[in-house]
Symmetry: C2
Subunit: 443 residues, 2 copies
């Protein structure tokens, strides 16, 4: 049959099962998806899509799963260059004897640019299409992100002290404003404010960050209530918990993205819900650093928006959000001795549409719906560990890893095809990683 | 330079870093390994090995890591055909409404043979070379294992009740004896006794199993102290904990392999140590079923031999021992709020030489040492999530997955080369998995 009036699309993906993750949607066994102008033009059965669209590029999903790209809500991309430099140490020793000295000595523009590219290669390979990052020299992170073609929230880190890129908070604030002005209208990069924590940023610095965030209409990201020692230190200094300290400053709001949120009491959880604060859960990092188990089921029960993040490669030690989903689902079950908490569908939502809500991008990404940006991945299913398929959502959470991702499209552009990166020179990036390793730790 | 008197080997693996995991060994940057007659003939620097050996087959590790194959201490291979059939349910509902009825309805010779082949394909792909299995129709498991070429401990399951393959324990005991006699001199298959649990096997049945194990000099494997409800039920029935119940029967010994061991008090841990009982830890299964956190650091501190297992694909839901190592290392850290417990080297040992000790195979496998069986894997390192390399042991535990395994040699025979399975027809196995899925759950 011929359809003479079909509209023109850029890419049509065929021959796969569609898992759109649109609210109340069901998987479509023999589905197709049309992309035009960077957005999803059609999604449905192959017959439906091909009745209305034709395209110069037909992508074959080879019987795989066509689904939204994953959303990694919290990481520190350049730190992949320190992956495995130090592990299994008390938090104090790890930070003060290894990570902080290494950052002081090595973090510069080149480190950040190439370290970020290494992480972006890993993210694309494992199916992440949107990432929220916070570090130093964030303009170098932005340059790498633009090259790779990911979607990103980027926050220049700020503290009371000199940082690797700024001799003072004053200088950092200047850099941040310039960064926001440069990227506030970028299609893929969303600048944010990123004061490090309530114990490394004074109340006045936090308020100035918040004022800037408000002025530019961008979110503010912070590490919050991550460790018991943070709660103790903030208690000594301000006589309050970290959450109540922020409440006292008037900083709990729906434009705040709070990462970790491990040490919360009932009052804190109620406040986060009341103020609409968005939360990013990082279970593998919280486990590896022995920070604790965040009360995620309790937050979700209160209606708090919760996304999923890997944190940096030093405390994980990879950026694979598929593995993070698996661990998130299992950790809360054993912590509560209840196998019904955190079912696979809830966890998958945290890594897709729920994560997009946390980053304020739910109208653009997180599900495959007509009009949304085309951030799409194809996951191979014809592999021994992914067969047979009774419930594809269970497989994504409990059985798959990022290595099962075959193709990645971001903003309508193919960035990985049959596991080959198209926007990045992987060999060059791996060579740079080895060069930096030889500098950082001569063998 | 020419070495006229070099000895002949079958395979020499070159161009990789050797991580032998022999006690007190260090990685060898430019290493090589010679295999002759199924055993390791030489391991050392490329120059050393090539000075003494030549071989018709030179395997290029392409800069990867040459290390011992992993040892999966506990699983139920055929259950991969139920992968994802039911998750996120209370243990009672999961077992009684889903798993037991599905087993009753579907488990037969064909299910076991093809389900096992699916699992073996997954195991080889993810670098496991030795596996301990317990299920029904174990002769079909053995047939599949022989075809795949893995090393295995296989136990025919036995209970007080009729099982899928035996109308009574009497029949099961007959089958078990025949199975042991058939395989007791097999080079790759080691038969074991496998009474299911102390609450599904009467004291007299346990004693008969133990008598048989003693007669044939094979280990006895059992699920022990896995769940709180097991402890409660055994307490009601025998007035004792599961461990003390076995002690009362005189069954705690160094020929007992106890899987799970989650619910142990101080007295139980001391007894396991005193009697030399060997333990298999299955953290992902214990998390997913919300069974609890096994006191592994406490057992290791008492000198108990502890290996690592995935358990079956229904409670994990994959057989990737690399991911299991990652979760094992992290779970105990967060459970004790101590990031120094279960360092990567300890966890890697549990999955290699330590696991071999648990299965009684430490003289044959678990490390790359001259004279041992050649069970060797090559792990790719030139991948974004595995660079840079400061500490390769950290990477194996925290950053790698089974998908990073490139080549697998078992008993001196190449069974996977550049990710292609050589002993199994993967397409046929995947097609069978889909056939069984369509029978089990018509869409």
């Amino acid at each position: 049959m011929v359809f003479p009036h079909r509209k023109s699309a850029d890419i049509i993906i065929i021959n796969g099962m569609i898992l759109s993750l649109a609210p109340d949607s069901q998987p479509i066994e023999k589905g197709a998806l049309a992309i035009a102008g960077g957005r999803i033009a059609a999604v449905g059965s192959k017959e439906e899509v091909e009745a209305f669209y034709h395209a110069p590029q037909i992508m074959n999903a080879h019987g795989g799963l066509i689904m939204p790209g994953l959303v990694n809500g919290h990481t520190h991309l350049p730190m992949s260059f320190f992956r495995g430099l130090a592990d299994d140490l008390s938090l104090d020793v790890w930070l003060k004897e290894y990570i902080f000295p290494a950052e002081k000595k090595w973090v510069n523009e080149g480190f950040v640019y190439w370290g970020t590219l290494l992480s972006l290669a890993e993210l694309i390979r494992s199916g992440t299409t949107t990432v929220a990052d916070g570090y130093f020299f964030e303009e170098e992170v932005a340059r790498a992100v633009e090259k790779a073609g990911l979607r990103a929230l980027l926050g220049q880190g700020i503290l009371d002290f000199p940082s690797p890129d700024s001799p003072s908070p004053e200088e950092a604030l200047k850099k941040i404003q310039a960064f926001i002005q440069q990227y506030q209208h970028s299609p893929l990069i969303h600048p944010v404010l990123f004061p490090h924590t309530v114990y490394t940023c004074s109340p006045s610095l936090l308020l100035r960050c918040s004022e800037l965030a408000g002025r530019y209409g961008v979110p503010m990201v912070i590490h919050l209530a991550e460790t018991r020692s943070e709660v103790e230190e903030v208690g000594r200094r301000y006589g309050k918990s970290p959450v109540l300290h922020l409440e006292g400053l008037g900083l709990l709001s729906s434009s705040l993205i709070a990462c970790h949120c491990v040490w919360l009491g009932e009052e804190e959880m109620d406040l986060l819900a009341l103020r609409g604060v968005r939360v990013v859960h990082n279970p593998e990092s919280n486990m590896k650093l022995a920070s604790g188990v965040a009360p995620v089921p309790e937050l979700l029960a209160r209606g708090v928006r919760v996304g999923l993040g890997t944190d940096g490669s030093c405390s994980n030690n990879n950026l694979d959000l598929f593995q993070e989903m698996d661990v998130a689902a299992k950790l809360h079950k054993v912590h509560r001795l209840d196998p019904t908490v955190m079912p696979s569908s809830v966890v998958l939502e945290m890594a897709t549409l729920g994560g997009a809500r946390v980053l304020g991008l739910e109208k653009e990404v997180g599900s495959l719906e007509v009009g949304k940006k085309a951030d799409v991945i194809v996951v191979e299913l014809s592999r021994p560990h992914l067969q047979p398929v009774y419930n594809v959502v269970s497989h994504l959470v409990y059985s798959a890893t990022g290595a099962d991702v075959r193709d990645v499209v971001i903003d309508g552009k193919l960035v990985m095809e049959n596991r080959k990166l198209l926007t990045l020179d992987e060999e060059e990036i791996l060579a740079k990683a080895k060069e930096w390793r030889d500098k950082i730790k001569p063998s």
